[in-house]
């Protein structure tokens, strides 16, 4: 009973993760410039891979679940930081969005340190 329930839950999480990854990849393939691609990539891949890793509960194997939780922790910690670093690099390289407007308002002189 519990095993069937876990299988259903794991299958649902797996489906959710695959849908999120597919949406993210479609965004990177279709959207025109770096900022909106980063939006698709940074927002959807993290939760997608977290859902896929969380579906490890259906394996009912303690070792696999422990390592999946470890991988979830790393993804939660690193995915936003990587997205932020990429967005800041795009901004500083003078990135312009698809309408040709400037991505931000800061001038040459007031760049943040670091």
């Amino acid at each position: 009973m519990i095993s069937v329930l876990l299988d259903v839950l794991g299958g649902a999480l797996l489906l959710l993760g695959l849908v999120l990854l597919t949406v993210s990849l479609a965004g990177v393939l279709r959207l025109p410039d770096t900022f909106v691609q980063l939006h698709a990539q940074g927002l959807a891949t993290g939760p997608g891979v977290i859902a896929i890793l969380a579906s490890s509960i259906a394996t009912e194997d303690a070792t696999i679940i422990t390592f999946a939780v470890l991988a979830i922790a790393f993804v939660v910690l690193t995915s936003p930081v990587a997205g932020h670093a990429l967005a800041r690099a795009a901004h500083r390289l003078g990135g312009r969005d698809a309408r040709g407007t400037d991505g931000g308002t800061d001038r040459e002189g007031d760049r943040p340190p670091g």
């Binding site: 990849l25 691609q37 394996t59 696999i64 991988a71 930081v81 670093a85």
Partner: protein, 89 residues
């Protein structure tokens, strides 16, 4: 986890990997290439996790954790490099 769920998911993630390679080829500048590579690393992490569920082995998840950390370091290093024009600038 039953193979009837995992095997189609593995097929789908493999298709996503091919499409990710297409997005890498179609990228117009370096930052878009870095975005596509980060996405590809994430897809490979999902692939390794699914392989681990199918085989019932935890070792594949070791590789997934290591790949997550490596791709994070690589992405941040590339972003910093493009940002400042040098690794320590």
């Amino acid at each position: 986890m039953p193979a009837v769920i995992v095997v189609p998911a593995l097929f789908w993630v493999t298709l996503l990997l091919v499409a990710g390679g297409l997005s890498l080829v179609r990228a117009r500048d370096v930052l878009q290439r870095v975005v596509a590579l980060d996405l590809l690393a994430t897809i490979v992490i999902a692939l390794l996790a699914l392989l681990s569920y199918l085989r019932g082995q935890a070792y594949y998840l070791d590789a997934a954790v290591a790949l997550a950390l490596l791709s994070f370091i690589a992405t941040v290093a590339a972003a910093r490099y493009l940002d400042s024009g040098g690794p320590f600038g």
